[in-house]
Amino acid sequence: MTGHEQFAEDLALYALGSLEGEAVNSVERHLEECAACRQELARLEGDMALLALTTSGPAPPQRARQRLLKALGHEPRSLRTVFMRRRWWTLAPVFASLVLAVFAILLWRENARQRDRMEALRADAARNQATFEEAKHLLALLTDPSAMHVTLVAAQSKPQPAGKAIYMPGNGALVFMASNLAPLAPAKTYELWLVPMHGDKPMPAATFKPDPQGNAMVMMPPMTAGVEARTFAVTIEPEGGSATPTMPMVLVGS
């Protein structure tokens, strides 16, 4: 049997590796479905083996044998043999290595997660630090005695005492700035009052004294959180402050 005649010549070239181009694909597709041609290919390999067997020549040099035997000594035995001949406990190091490898992978993943978390925290810290620096500079500007405080009023009018309160009822945060305040008599102090929205009794917020230029600032005095303010007022009180304001009011604002 020589297989299908239309493939006979191409099959011979295919066996020799001398076929090229699309003809190779065509032969391979045919071989997949044709047992007769697969058998013929085996016979052609046999013909080629016969041709190979006709070669003769000098024996290989002794160094080639030594090279091979040396290489055999460096090569591990085939895996199949290893598994067939070894007892299971001799494979314990292999299993241990596998477990360690899995453990290492898990550790690596956890490490990567922690690293990501650390990066996020570091970014948060950097943002907070920037905000803090900004607040510090603002605070330094507001509290530095050498900073210029200029109150602008309508042109050609005499500067009047003035104050500005910034207040957040939710947390009781309060900042108060005043300017052009008259100097105090000895043993006297200015006192800032908060008049609540509900109930008329004014609540003392802080006592303060202006600098020689008449400027004063009150920052974050202890306040009760959650009190809605209707009015802020400033009075002059005896040193140490009073429980109730003494009239008249120096400044008032709603």
Binding site: G17, G46, A64, L68
Partner: protein, 168 residues
């Protein structure tokens, strides 16, 4: 012996080398015509057998013919400076002649040599160019100045002549 090699028996491998290395080396040297390159192929073929003895299946032909064909494939790959083109698992050899015994093998080789001498020069030359020089049929046609179809026919006819030589 293959069973011993599968068990990692280096002595069996040495015995097998002593028996078949002249054949493998002769094929490689014929193709490559250079001793260093032929030694490399010799080494590669036997290391392949050592690493993957399961690739040789006794049902697929004798070990000698199989090694000869593998040596030829690897030598052509080396000649063409290319990666191995043939998977060893795919090499299946069918030979009807009995080549197991040394005497039978010698007789078969004599018959094949006689057949080679008897065939027309251009037929033998085309076969040798394809087999020992690894040339494609296009290259052979270009070198001999003959049509592609003629080259194809000659190569197949030459292989058939070798097969017939053993049948008588």
């Amino acid at each position: 012996m293959i069973a011993r090699i599968r068990c990692g028996d280096q002595d069996a491998m040495a015995e097998l080398y002593d028996r078949y290395s002249p054949l493998v080396y002769a094929v490689a040297l014929r193709v490559l015509a250079e001793t260093g390159a032929a030694e490399d192929v010799l080494q590669e073929v036997f290391m392949q057998l050592w690493r993957h003895p399961a690739n040789f299946d006794v049902r697929r032909g004798g070990l000698g013919p199989w090694l000869a064909v593998i040596a030829r494939h690897r030598a052509i790959d080396a000649l063409r400076k290319r990666r191995p083109q043939t998977d060893l698992e795919d090499v299946v050899i069918a030979i009807e002649a009995d080549l197991e015994g040394a005497a039978e093998r010698t007789r078969a080789v004599e018959k094949v040599r006689a057949s080679l001498h008897a065939m027309p020069d251009n037929q033998r030359k085309a076969l040798e160019m394809a087999f020992f020089e690894g040339m494609t049929h296009t290259e052979i046609a270009a070198q001999t100045g003959e049509p592609l179809g003629t080259v194809k026919t000659r190569i197949r006819a030459a292989l058939m002549a070798l097969r017939r030589a053993l049948a008588v």
